[in-house]
């Protein structure tokens, strides 16, 4: 057992896979931590980690060889995480068959998604090993939802992928300040690029004049979403996502765009802060006030 236990959500694993370069400094440094991934999250990672290749195919004209190389690199990095998976059966063996329904009642969380199973895993690990755990997810709405539970139940803390990168830099000599800065910049770029591509696709959508009167309510919501994306104001975008999902049949093109770039909606925040802004500020802060490592303190 190592000193720091981290549970990773699907977005964190997928981001690490995409931003880590061929040297795999980030992923290899994870061995300094106790990493856990729930069975459900691992399935989500498997389902979504190749989406980027699909987007690449749709948005750009990649070389056949590039696609093969990208897929091979993803497979290779994904295999590293396989051993961190904790099966639901294992948990049920220790805590009983009704463990997950007990947690469902406790959290009152309706969606049985990766965030729910990660929270259940966090409670399991904290009780079984008598430790505090870190749950890393970039899904801000989920973070908000479980924040109080983590505090009240003394489970540990919920942080994002940027926090995990800084932690890796603190404990691993392989992650120098410049490697950390590049990784943070790559992480911000992953999200900012999605926001920009979605914004441009939505801006280029033109509602036919014949539909304008009938679909006025859709047009005004669309304009609102575009404005929010272009200003990086992510408050209330989850509601807009739900709106377009509900009205999918009336405006399928718009829904297709937002569904393809659904990572954007993880950035929703109520505090005016968001992951892209946070990373920008964090990079400046780390330059003016570098991370204190053990080596800096000894002799």
């Amino acid at each position: 057992m190592k000193k720091i236990a981290c549970i990773l959500d699907a977005c964190t694993v997928i981001n690490l896979i995409h931003i880590d370069d061929d040297n795999e400094l980030l992923i290899s440094s994870l061995s300094s931590l106790d990493i856990y991934i729930s069975e459900k999250v691992f399935k989500e990672v498997n389902q979504n980690v190749y989406d980027k290749i699909e987007k690449l195919r749709k948005n750009e004209k990649p070389r056949v060889i590039d696609i093969k190389l990208i897929k091979k690199a993803i497979d290779q990095k994904l295999s590293v995480f396989r051993g961190n998976q904790v099966l639901d059966d294992e948990i049920e063996k220790d805590f009983g068959k009704n463990y997950f329904s007990q947690i469902k009642d406790l959290t009152n969380y309706q969606k049985l998604n990766g965030e729910f199973y990660s929270t259940a895993l966090a409670i399991y690990l904290s009780r079984l090993n008598d430790v505090k755990v870190f749950f890393h997810t970039d899904d801000t709405p989920a973070r908000e939802e479980f924040k109080l539970l983590f505090k009240h139940q003394q489970i540990g803390y919920i942080e994002d992928t940027a926090d995990l990168l800084v932690l890796l830099s603190r404990i691993s000599n392989k992650i120098s300040p410049s490697v950390l800065d590049n990784a943070l910049s790559d992480l911000a770029s992953e999200y900012a690029t999605e926001v920009t591509i979605l914004e441009k696709k939505l801006k280029s959508y033109q509602m036919p004049a014949k539909d304008i009167r009938r679909m006025k309510f859709i047009k005004s919501k669309l304009d609102l979403l575009i404005n929010k994306l272009s200003a990086h104001d992510f408050s209330g975008i989850g509601e807009l996502y739900d709106f377009f999902k509900k009205n999918k049949s009336k405006c399928p093109q718009v829904y297709d765009h937002i569904d393809l770039h659904n990572e954007v909606f993880q950035l929703e925040t109520t505090e005016g802060n968001n992951l892209i802004k946070k990373i920008k500020e964090l990079r400046v802060e780390l330059k003016t006030s570098p991370l204190l490592k053990l080596d800096n303190l000894i002799g």
């Binding site: 750009e60 004209k61 070389r63 800065d181 770029s189 004049a209 014949k210 304008i212 200003a231």
Partner: protein
């Protein structure tokens, strides 16, 4: 929609999607900025140096339209005088992980090899001699020679450039001195600058290469290493193509990036090469008025007595008033909707102000 009969227009002049027929791509109003572009292009056609120009403005202010208009052969033919025509293209700033490769691919997409070969059959110089003097990379020189060599099929060389060639097919290119695939940013940059130098040699076939890099504001979402690569590309392409290259950078200002933030993303070595900045300001009422009259006139299907037809003058003036501080895109959007709704409702033409007032909330959107 029978625009011609009902509205006495060839087509909807306010269409927001790019015109597929280049004849429909016209310039109306805004004489100041048009003249600035004309002067810059004319100057670069005549002179030998390479320049970088920054165009900036709000979303929908007409930067992409300017790029499309000034890459039209008919427009460039009018600007060239006794010189040869520029070779022009528009490329978007790539957002992917390999920006230089994607710029290279966008350029290769637009290069018409057979057309180039036929134009270079009768020149006062031997293109192979010119290529021998470009840099010291024999591999790049061989690829450039292959571009002009009609023994190699256009498809084969394009496949090679895209990197989709098999080893067996590559072997077939060995006899032309092509022994390996292109595989680094340095390869792509050297090839592009070499090609530009060949195409504009002595300004004989093409007087100038004009590249419009659209959506440059996306540099703000690139990772620091890709910002690095994009800057290095721009610097090297300007260094390696000292003559006959004109690059326009289109930057849309937003809350995330303004012209004053450019220093964060564009290195001093590139910024110092910006020779001119064109600001696409939000139009005044007078500018909108002249734009409207000229645009309607350019799309008119027959001679008209009334400048504002198919709108009554007070209809047009009311809408212009309402669109104060709007972008050109919103202006076009509103007039296009007015025209299309009137068409749908079989409204009497010219369109009256009362019709506009009754439908105002469908036409003017608060954004």
């Amino acid at each position: 929609m029978e625009f011609k009969e009902q509205f006495k227009l060839k087509s909807n002049p306010f269409r927001l999607t790019p015109a597929t027929n280049s004849d429909e791509l016209v310039w109306a109003g805004f004489p100041g900025i048009k003249e600035k572009f004309e002067k810059r292009i004319k100057r670069s056609i005549k002179l030998n140096n390479s320049s970088l120009v920054l165009n900036w403005g709000e979303y929908g202010s007409g930067k992409t339209h300017a790029a499309r208009y000034f890459t039209k052969d008919a427009v460039l033919n009018d600007l060239k005088d006794e010189f040869s025509i520029p070779y022009s293209m528009i490329i978007p700033l790539p957002k992917g992980k390999e920006p230089v490769y994607h710029i290279f691919t966008s350029i290769v997409d637009k290069i018409k090899i057979n057309e180039i070969r036929s134009k270079f059959t009768e020149t006062s110089f031997e293109i192979t001699d010119v290529i021998d003097k470009i840099g010291d990379n024999v591999q790049i020189q061989s690829i450039l020679k292959a571009i002009f060599n009609d023994k190699i099929k256009e498809n084969q060389i394009k496949k090679y450039l895209y990197g989709n060639i098999s080893n067996k097919e590559l072997e077939m290119l060995n006899e032309f001195g092509i022994l390996r695939k292109l595989n680094s940013d340095s390869d792509y940059t050297k090839f592009i600058s070499g090609l530009f130098s060949c195409l504009t040699h002595k300004k004989e076939i093409y007087s100038l290469m004009t590249i419009w890099i659209d959506e440059f504001e996306d540099i703000a979402v690139l990772s620091s290493s890709n910002i690095d690569k994009t800057n290095n590309f721009l610097r090297e392409i300007m260094d390696n193509t000292p003559n006959n290259l004109l690059i326009f950078i289109n930057l849309t200002q937003s809350t995330l990036i303004g012209v004053e933030d450019l220093g964060e993303y564009l290195y001093e070595s590139v910024r110092s090469r910006i020779k001119e900045k064109n600001n696409f300001e939000l139009p005044s009422k007078e500018a909108f008025n002249s734009y409207l009259v000229e645009l309607l006139n350019l799309h008119s299907a027959e001679t008209r007595a009334d400048n504002y037809f198919p709108f009554e003058q007070d209809t047009a003036e009311y809408l212009i008033d309402k669109l104060e501080n709007a972008s050109l895109r919103r202006f076009n959007d509103a007039f296009s909707l007015l025209l299309e709704l009137a068409d749908m409702d079989n409204e009497a033409i010219p369109i009256k102000k009362s019709y506009l007032l009754a439908n105002e909330s469908d036409i003017i959107w608060e954004i």
